[in-house]
Subunit: 386 residues, 2 copies
């Protein structure tokens, strides 16, 4: 039995999926799609990935209320109380603050404590949390779980905020980077965590030139957005670094898990600032550590990344879920509704995607414009093709 009842998992599943439009749509974004035809959606694969590490009753999914039913359908062993609904989109910091508050209330209740009387020494309060996105791809799941176990062990012993940094394999400009401190003589050396390093800086998505420098240096890792921490550590980090968020949740901490939770969240959540966990906590905290990792990770954030990960024919064309015939065509990625046929002649490096009444034909190199196309279609056709 490798699962530990004091391990919790928070899965962020609130994305609206406009980057893969029209393949992913507002009513069924990316995380709910079976991207690789395996029979499991990205969300289902994410939940399954954590099952050996975290008891299913300790898994919480933060999402928009619109997706609640879909999640309960896709993961039928979750109960309603495990779906935490955001009444507004406020980026990752309020999302994680909500889940943290909800878990803390559970622990306090188990320990017979109140929000005003937190006693972190109580065993019920010794809780580790892993936070991850619902729509990333991880190929080597055993290796992933070994890394998470190591991180759980580390954060249970040290007041550390841990994150996984992916060893870069190419000068990717689509990811943020984490610079870490290799120097063995650093002040945290006494922790002696093998292959766990203090973080020097988080950086935004670089341009290609900068990405090449990052790759060369060996000191930069891709920011995976996977975080591991102890309940006390993250609670204190929010309290000191993001009080404008933390304080709002503390007001009604013991309403969490009761019939009043929803009304409380609807009242305070929209008032939270729109701020990412990276900007609000990670970049400010002085106890952030990174575990350099490589287990075949992708955030599947672009058609380009999906193309890179997919099986290609001899002309480097990718066909997802569809029958396709290619003539004088190279480097295209094609996905239609299941069972359909695409015949593609005379185009290179295009996205050709059709789903629920919308066909997109777009250069892969121009895919950042898709959000604008969705907005234009929304304006012109009154939301008919969202």
């Amino acid at each position: 039995m490798t699962e530990n009842k004091n391990n919790y998992c928070v899965i962020m599943a609130g994305g609206v999926g406009s980057r893969f439009w029209p393949y992913s749509r507002a009513d069924k974004p990316k995380q709910f799609l079976d991207f690789f035809g395996t029979g499991r959606s990205l969300l289902q694969m994410t939940v399954d990935r954590f099952r050996p590490l975290v008891p299913i009753e300790n898994v919480f999914i933060v999402t928009n209320v619109a997706y609640k039913e879909l999640i309960l359908e896709q993961v039928p062993d979750l109960v309603e109380g495990q779906i935490l609904c955001e009444p507004a989109r406020r980026n990752t910091a309020p999302c994680i603050a909500y889940a943290t508050s909800h878990i803390r209330a559970i622990c306090l209740r188990k320990a017979g404590l109140t929000a005003a009387n937190q006693d972190w020494s109580r065993p019920e309060m010794q809780v580790n949390i892993v936070v991850a996105a619902s729509d990333h791809l991880i190929l080597e799941e055993d290796k992933f779980r070994d890394t998470i176990r190591k991180a759980f062990d580390f954060v249970s012993k040290h007041k550390a905020i841990a994150t996984l940094g992916m060893t870069p394999t190419r000068p990717e400009t689509g990811y943020g980077y984490i610079q870490f401190i290799r120097d063995e003589s650093n002040e945290m050396e006494h922790l002696n965590p093998k292959d766990i390093y203090p973080v020097k800086t988080f950086t935004e998505k670089p341009n290609l030139e900068m990405a090449k420098v990052f790759l060369e240096s060996g000191d930069f890792l891709w920011n995976s957005g996977i975080f591991i921490w102890n309940l006390q550590t993250i609670s204190e980090a929010f309290r000191y670094l993001l009080p404008e968020v933390a304080d709002r949740f503390r007001e009604g901490e013991l309403l969490m898990g009761t019939d009043e939770e929803e009304a409380f969240i609807e009242q305070i959540f929209p008032k939270c600032p729109n701020i990412s966990i990276d900007y609000g906590i990670m970049e400010k905290a002085d106890n952030v550590f990174v575990l350099p990792s490589s287990f075949g990770w992708s955030d599947l954030g672009t058609w380009g990344s999906l193309y890179e990960l997919s099986e290609k024919d001899t002309s480097l064309n990718v066909s997802l879920h569809s029958n396709a015939l290619f003539y004088d065509a190279r480097g295209n990625v094609v996905t239609l509704e299941p069972g359909k046929l695409a015949v593609v002649q005379g185009v290179d490096d295009m996205i050709i995607a059709e789903q629920k009444g919308v066909l997109l034909v777009c250069k892969k190199a121009e895919e950042q414009r898709i959000k604008q196309f969705v907005a234009d279609a929304q304006e012109k056709f009154k939301g008919k093709f969202n």
Copy 2:
């Protein structure tokens, strides 16, 4: 009342529509589609076009048995006996021979004559026939009918095979051409048919250079495939110029219009040579005349011709039956199933067509390859996407 009970109309509707695949399909070829969103299919528009000229009971449609029900559905004032079913595809000469034989049997019966005892002087035998395709476009229908009326009048007075030649407006390489004799002193001058000229030659589709020469000369017209003749004239033409076809039909002439017609046709039709009316009759006959015409005609034989005829946006894109947004895209023709949206970025001069589970993306300039794509899809997917 301009219609004349001695005028007959033969509409050829046996095409299988592979050139507009996947928009037109084996189960619903081009002639049955509402190409321009007018609410009427090309076949319906063709029948309607002849209504003021020919009594509806004198309209015969030659087609494949597979389309019989569809035709009766689309043109509900036809009766079953007006749909002549070809048991095999044998090009236009056997098709027209069949319709001619069927009409001749009707006339013989009306006149109380037998096939062996044809008396062309009888009024019931004084019949004019117009033969046309079911899937062409004609924009100026009044002008078209005036031309047909003139041709009917001409062929009822002279033993002439008449055809309409379209005054070319561009050096089109997709049509055959008719060269006519302008010389007013020719031997047919005594006929004094204003704007009706003897034909010198029929030519195959020219290359661009040749097409330009044709256009310059003023002596060449596009071969429309619309024929007008007297029953006696065409009967004799078949008899003398294509006896290998005519003789087969004469064997069972009086079975036409009886319960035995179908069995007879199934027996003899497949034995007919595969030969076009142009090659079998028009090029050999010495009494062929052409009426130079211009009433906005197209054989709609190619996506290119459809594109040319359709309304274009400021970037010269055409969208048929579909909502479409174009970005950095010029000269494309897009058609999806009704109500769908296409977003097209970064491609020029393409055909983008989606229908019943098949999406085609193909350069307009390469559309002649579509037949091969259909064949490939047929082989690979066992006819699933015909």
